[in-house]
């Protein structure tokens, strides 16, 4: 009974346990500062600015002296989408060295580092390149999507929103931005393909992708 009561209280009092608060001015406060802020309100009718750690919702954050630039949200989302294909591909590549080759290296009493640089990294290249291709196009998608949702100026995502608003007047216009995004994605994976043909120039052609 006590347990259920505790749970119930937890659920109903959840609002008061919020860590972050925003006020009508768009200022963001941490839970620990609320009492001060409230008491400041009561004392002189203004909010104690020194305790505010964020300025606005929507991509504007201050952490100490570091001001979060608007483009950083977009590049973090791009990085995030590129990270997993590349990480998984690299891991698979690094563990792909044939057992016989690993045995050969240990028969030469090669150190861990020597095995890594002389065997594992070169053997990982055929796995890394397709991963980089996925990562490059994924990063473009991530950045465009982030630009759409944050409305970052000067980006393709922003253009898509702006041109979409004019879609009733000029339906073709929005496609210019969409094709621009597609072209950017293709360019990125094209660059990776060039890098690939450089790295794999001396390898048997069957294994290259």
């Amino acid at each position: 009974m006590v347990f259920i009561a505790t749970i119930t209280r937890r659920i109903f009092s959840r609002n008061d346990n919020r860590r972050w608060f925003g006020d009508s001015d768009g200022k963001v406060y941490h839970r620990s500062t609320r009492i001060v802020a409230v008491s400041g309100d009561v004392a002189d009718g203004s909010i104690d600015r020194s305790c505010a750690i964020g300025r606005k919702w929507g991509g504007k954050l201050e952490i100490g002296s570091f001001v979060w630039p608007r483009w950083l949200s977009a590049s973090i989302l791009g990085t995030f989408l590129a990270f997993f294909p590349v990480a998984v591909g690299t891991l698979r590549g690094l563990t792909s060295s044939p057992a016989a080759a690993v045995e050969l290296m240990s028969s030469y009493a090669a150190s861990w580092r020597q095995t890594l640089f002389k065997l594992r990294f070169p053997a990982a290249v055929p796995f890394l390149v397709p991963a980089l291709k996925l990562g490059a196009s994924g990063a473009v998608v991530g950045v465009v999507v982030a630009e759409i949702s944050t409305g970052l100026k000067g980006g393709i995502g922003r253009l898509i929103i702006e041109y979409a608003r004019e879609a009733t007047g000029d339906p073709a216009k929005v496609f210019t931005a969409v094709f621009g995004a597609a072209a950017l994605g293709l360019t990125m994976s094209g660059l990776v393909a060039l890098f690939d043909s450089y790295l794999m120039r001396n390898r048997p052609k069957e294994t290259s992708t």
């Binding site: 045995e103 290296m105 028969s107 030469y108 390898r203 048997p204």
Partner: protein, 276 residues
């Protein structure tokens, strides 16, 4: 380069190897193996699949630790011998690195030893001469035929001039003609470099043609059943393959193997009866 001649190249004393010891799938790979190999000797290990001949080779190479017993190579422990690169190794798959040229593949063990570039290159050229691939140094392994790749692998194994060469069915994936040619080449190379060889094979004629002694092994648990000396002289050629002594030795090895085979069948038959 090696120490005094009275130190044996390989000495295996009462070596046993048990995999997954104490569990349900325990495998007694080797049981109480004793083997002494003199410097300059060519010894083949032969036996049916799963008789532990590759395991014995890996014990000598210190790629596996024996469960029991001692192994010394060149008068050192096998672990020290591995650290000193006292042996070279060649496997059934040539195992060359695709991203390195033939020369660079041969230089690999020398790089790991920290030799400087000039010394490495001259040694690689010397080894390419030895295996008669002078013109192929700048090509990539995948541009060569299987036999050529295997010759590069032998050159790589011998690049640091180790006194001992360990080979695990190196010609197993080659066609019969290439195989016979490679056997002749191997004998020539070993004679030129006076290398001791331990050679694992499935093929009776191959074992007899190459070896001074053939070690016949039995499966589960792997034991040495018989060691057969082959008296075909030190100079062997294609004529050796037609000699009487060649066929006599082949028959001797075959009978030794048959013995193991008959025993093996008998023991499983009895076990089968018990199960029922």
């Amino acid at each position: 380069m090696s120490a005094a001649a009275n130190i044996s190249a390989v000495e295996v004393n009462g070596a046993s190897k048990i995999f997954n010891s104490g569990t349900a799938n325990q495998v007694d790979a080797l049981l109480d193996v004793n083997l002494t190999i003199a410097p300059g000797e060519f010894v083949s290990l032969i036996g049916p699949s799963g008789c532990g001949k590759s395991t014995l080779l890996r014990l000598i190479a210190n790629l596996l630790e024996p469960t029991q017993g001692e192994i010394s190579v060149n008068g050192k422990t096998s672990a020290q011998a591995r650290l000193d690169q006292d042996y070279g190794m060649a496997f059934q798959q040539a195992g060359l690195f695709d991203w390195r040229t033939v020369s660079k593949n041969i230089e690999l063990p020398l790089e790991l030893k920290g030799w400087d570039k000039k010394k490495r290159e001259s040694r690689a050229a010397e080894m390419l001469d030895l295996v008669k691939l002078q013109d192929f140094g700048n090509m990539y392994p995948w541009q060569l035929s299987g036999g050529m790749q295997q010759r590069v692998a032998i050159a790589r194994a011998l690049a640091a001039h180790p006194p001992l060469l360990l080979m695990d069915e190196p010609f197993g994936a080659l066609d019969e003609m290439t195989r016979e040619y490679m056997q002749g080449e191997l004998l020539r190379i070993c004679a030129e470099t006076s290398t001791t060889v331990v050679f694992v094979t499935h093929s009776i004629p191959e074992a007899v043609y190459l070896s001074n002694r053939v070690v016949v092994m039995s499966p589960r648990p792997g034991r040495i059943l018989e060691i057969i000396s082959v008296n075909l002289g030190s100079k062997r050629s294609e004529l050796t393959r037609a000699a009487d002594g060649f066929f006599k030795s082949i028959t001797a090895v075959r009978e030794a193997l048959r013995g193991t085979h008959a025993q093996h069948v008998a023991s499983t038959a009895i076990r089968g009866a018990e199960d029922r």
